[in-house]
């Protein structure tokens, strides 16, 4: 049976119920919560602050450090807390996704710490993490040229779908499932995150990126609305 209707009854290009909020961590300089269906991410930004030890400082530009962490209760089967190969990889790709938009040149010798915690996971956690991190950075008053939005597009059997869930990721019939997290910048429309898990034809890839771009525009509107709702 081909994948004609999505498991949760959404349209192919429809996002899950998405909401965002800033100022959730009172002690941080900036923080944000981003919720996408059952996926919930909290990002807290500390800094810019002095980077110690001193030999880690860069006199030319600031340093951005991202810590991605999935809490042990975020999935149905408890995961071991702390660093894992997966969390280190996601921290790194998130850092690369965020670095082009932060004006690090203006902050020599300093560090900006971004802590992303996943409270609840149902696929697309790195995208929710990036969305939350971008909002937290903006809320922390870090100089940035633009915003970033991320979404996980996928190819389930032969259909391009937006914002995949865990259930869809595990779909095995037909051509199987492909999961493609993408992140687009809000103004220039540049792509700063692109990963691929599965298989996809070159032609379909273009389609998937188009779908991702459209979805990111919708997510950006949600981020923008939440950021402007100060108090």
């Amino acid at each position: 049976m081909a994948y004609t209707k999505r498991i949760d009854g959404r349209k192919l290009d429809e996002l899950r119920d998405t909401s965002a909020k800033i100022g959730v961590v009172p002690n941080a300089d900036g923080s944000a919560l981003f919720k996408q269906g059952d996926t919930v991410a909290i990002a807290a930004v500390y800094g810019p602050k002095i980077l110690n030890p001193k030999h880690c400082q860069n006199p030319e530009k600031g340093v951005l450090r991202v810590h991605y962490n999935m809490l042990s209760f975020s999935v149905s089967e408890r995961i071991r807390p702390g660093l894992s190969r997966r969390s280190q990889e996601i921290s790194k790709v998130t850092e690369w996704a965020l670095a082009p938009l932060v004006l690090l040149d203006e902050l020599p010798g300093t560090v900006i710490d971004v802590h992303i915690n996943i409270l609840q996971a149902n696929a697309g956690t790195r995208c929710a993490g990036i969305n939350a991190a971008a909002m937290a950075l903006a809320a922390a008053g870090v100089p940035m040229t633009e915003m970033i939005s991320a979404v996980a597009v996928g190819k389930i059997d032969d259909k391009i779908v937006t914002d995949v869930t865990k259930e869809e990721e595990d779909y095995e019939e037909g051509e199987g499932a492909t999961d493609i997290p993408v992140a687009f910048l809000s103004n220039s429309g540049k792509l700063t995150l692109l990963q691929l898990d599965g298989r996809i034809q070159a032609k379909r890839m273009k389609e998937a990126l188009e779908a991702g771009k459209e979805a990111c525009k919708k997510i950006f509107e949600i981020q923008k609305k939440a950021l402007k709702e100060v108090e």
């Binding site: 300089d29 006199p59 903006a138 008053g141 100089p143 040229t145 633009e146 103004n187 950021l227 100060v230």
Partner: protein
Amino acid sequence: MATKTKKDIVIPGEIISKGNDFLPGDWTMKQGENIIATRIGIVEKYDKLIKIIPISGVYIPRGGNVVIGEIKDITMNGWMVNIGGPYSSFLPLRECPGFIEESEMENVYGIGDLIVTRIFDVRRTSVDLTMKSRERGLGKIQSGIVVRVNPHRVPRVIGKEGSMIKMIKDASNCYITVGQNGLIWINGDDIEKQAFAKRIVEYIVDNTTTEGLTEKVEKWIAENKPASIKTVPKEEKSEENVEVKE
């Protein structure tokens, strides 16, 4: 300051001006034909200059600011002070009034002491402090409490020409020194007065976006003032005052 409504707040990357009508000022940049905001804040236009007034984030040191800092380290010729900004601040020995023996340095300002100091110079990656000033009130904090607030809300705590701070002083009978870095020193003769002053400050900080803040605070003080606090006798008031206008 004008009241902040939702539409006044801009986010990074938002186009705030098209064409060549304005010159980009603080926290803005030119991108092609447009001027975009690079920080969350409120747009302000002066003549041909357009700039963003930040509403959140860490303290940005400016020359001449009076700040409250914590002594972090004692070096050969001065003290390292944490004033909350992204860069380290240094208070040189020569910027302290009087002669201080090198062995005496920790008795003057020891590690962990809080001091009221003035920013002398802001350089690319460091800040120089000074204790020499014609204004009174610089020095070590010996008693009282220190409250930390968002540094971008300090102008509202001070009020127009210090009107708000005067009101707090009169109501609570405490001496108050506002550091531009968001640390506020409240010094009174008993804990009850200090606690009341702290509550007023917190109330102001929580309501910075409301219109007619002065009247609201006045009303709040009248409602919440403990009976034990008497109004200030006039002659006491000339003692204090370290206010800085931005």
